[in-house]
């Protein structure tokens, strides 16, 4: 196993220790090192935003705690949910009295723990609302959106919700805007190589050279099917067509685009994908108002990429442009 780790059992705790040592001015942990909030939490008068999920996806989740984005995170073990207790603890710490938004991806364990944590928090008097990311069009057909997984598009929901909360909006307003963004957001990805879970030590699935899994999830979950690996332009077309078949984007629209690398795919390749997406959207008279190209939601050392598109209205346009400052991501 070609990994720079010590005991796999301690990987997450040591990684968090490293992050906290590196960024003490921006992040602090609660009693448990797995529960982390921005150093200045709670931000007076601001709606707190809490996320959480398994480790192995950096910069997701922890990397987006900071100015203009999130307030706290409950960190699980590699690919495993955080506990409801962590979620409760983080909720207490980030609630300035303006209420708390739970914003995370649609995975069974995460849902249950956030629901349970939220119930416990409400018993203590916190007002909690939830928006769940279900952006992956490959994970369930149209009409079954309820079952769709959250993948890289979650970053765009963070961006919108974080910017909206930073304006001083109240909890209902933050929820409404975030839900509007979630409804206007789609993602679609492709996996080219497996990842190795540190505690397991061998690849989590087989991927023969020259093959790819269309629509693979960020834990290696099965997608639409396995096919011969096409050219970058073919893959970009597949991803874009899949999104455009699921959401109607009118001519003249503005969108925000995320071309996300899963871990091992070089930035050079991501820009080759971006190029094709840019030209294809331009040919349809759709303008990319803002784009991010790089590793925003990873899956350990998996090779592959995903495309996320958020259709913008005037408010969403302003929100995606707003500044951000976290240890993993800055935008000015």
């Amino acid at each position: 196993m070609q990994k720079l780790i010590n005991d796999p059992q301690h990987l997450v705790a040591e990684m968090l220790d490293g992050i906290l040592l590196a960024h003490p001015d921006q992040l602090r942990s609660l009693g448990d090192v797995h529960s982390i909030v921005r150093a200045d939490a709670p931000v007076p008068g601001k709606v707190g935003i809490v996320t959480g999920g398994g480790s192995g996806h950096l910069p997701l989740f922890l990397g987006y705690v900071g100015d203009g984005l999130l307030d706290g995170v409950a960190v699980g073990d590699v690919f495993a949910s955080p506990t409801s207790e962590q979620i409760l603890e983080v909720t207490r710490e980030v609630d300035s009295g303006a209420g708390v938004l739970y914003l995370y991806g649609n995975y069974g364990g995460d849902l249950m723990n956030f629901d349970l944590g939220g119930e416990l928090a409400e018993l203590e008097g916190h007002v909690v609302k939830t928006v769940v990311g279900r952006d992956d069009v490959a994970s369930a057909p149209k009409g079954e959106e309820e079952y769709r997984r959250g993948i890289a598009g979650l970053f765009l929901l963070y961006k919108v919700a974080g910017a909206k909360a930073a304006t001083g909006a109240n909890l209902d307003e933050v929820v409404a805007t975030t839900e509007r963004a979630a409804a206007a957001l789609r993602s679609y990805g492709v996996g080219l190589s497996p990842m190795i879970l540190p505690a397991v030590g061998r690849p989590t699935f087989e991927m023969p050279a020259g093959q790819m899994e269309i629509g693979m999830g960020i834990h290696g979950e099965q997608g639409i099917g396995r096919e011969a690996l096409g050219t970058a332009d073919d893959v970009a077309d597949t991803l874009l067509d899949g999104i455009l078949a699921d959401i109607d984007i009118r001519q003249g629209s503005r969108v925000a685009v995320l071309v996300n690398g899963l871990g091992a795919t070089p930035a050079e390749e991501l820009y080759v994908l971006y190029r094709r997406v840019h030209r294809s959207l331009a040919a349809r008279d759709i303008t990319i108002h803002r784009r991010w190209v790089g590793e925003y939601v990873t899956s350990l050392e998996m090779a592959g990429a995903s495309l996320s598109i958020l259709v913008l209205d005037d408010e969403l346009t302003q929100l995606v442009d707003a500044p951000v400052r976290t240890p993993f991501f800055e935008q000015s």
């Binding site: 949910s81 955080p82 207790e85 069974g108 249950m112 994970s139 979950e221």
Partner: protein, 205 residues
Amino acid sequence: MTITAELEAVAAALTNNADELTRLDSITGDGDLGTTAGKVAIAIREALESGENDTQALLILCGKRIAGTAASSCGTLIATAFLSAAKAVGDTEGRSQLAAALQAAVAGIQKRGKAGPGDRTMIDALAPAAEAAAAGISSGTQDDYLQRISDAARQGMLATQSMTPKIGRARSQPERALGNPDAGAVLVSIALTAAFQAASGVLEA
């Protein structure tokens, strides 16, 4: 009445069957159910070590400890089951108490996990057990009563072998499920059998 012996038996059964649960969870899931079972067992033992022996208090303690450590789907649902059962046991006693506890557990899990009977989950073992407990309150010996509940859980578990998964990770690999029982249903069956064996001392495995 206290349930410490039953809880000890559940913890032991979970520890002993961890590898088999991992194997079953690997078929359609992510192969961590043995780890979860181990965490649940430790949480139960820690709750028992507190010396608490009031049934309701003990169930709450177990539920909270499990929620604090076993955060996978099944772990969280087990925590929910304990906390829901705890609320229900206060009002009744004896067989009614057991039946109420099991029904509350099923309801809690359904509310938390949004799955229903037939979705190929732990519910498919627990719901028949709860029904058997309610149906048998006024008939047969205590041993027969517990055996019927245990059998119902086991039959329900076996029935999952021909069910298509509707929920959770297994949903994405339906074809791999057929012929194998759902891992969470197996966990429930094992746990109930162990508990009732401890309670009656004569239950058939």
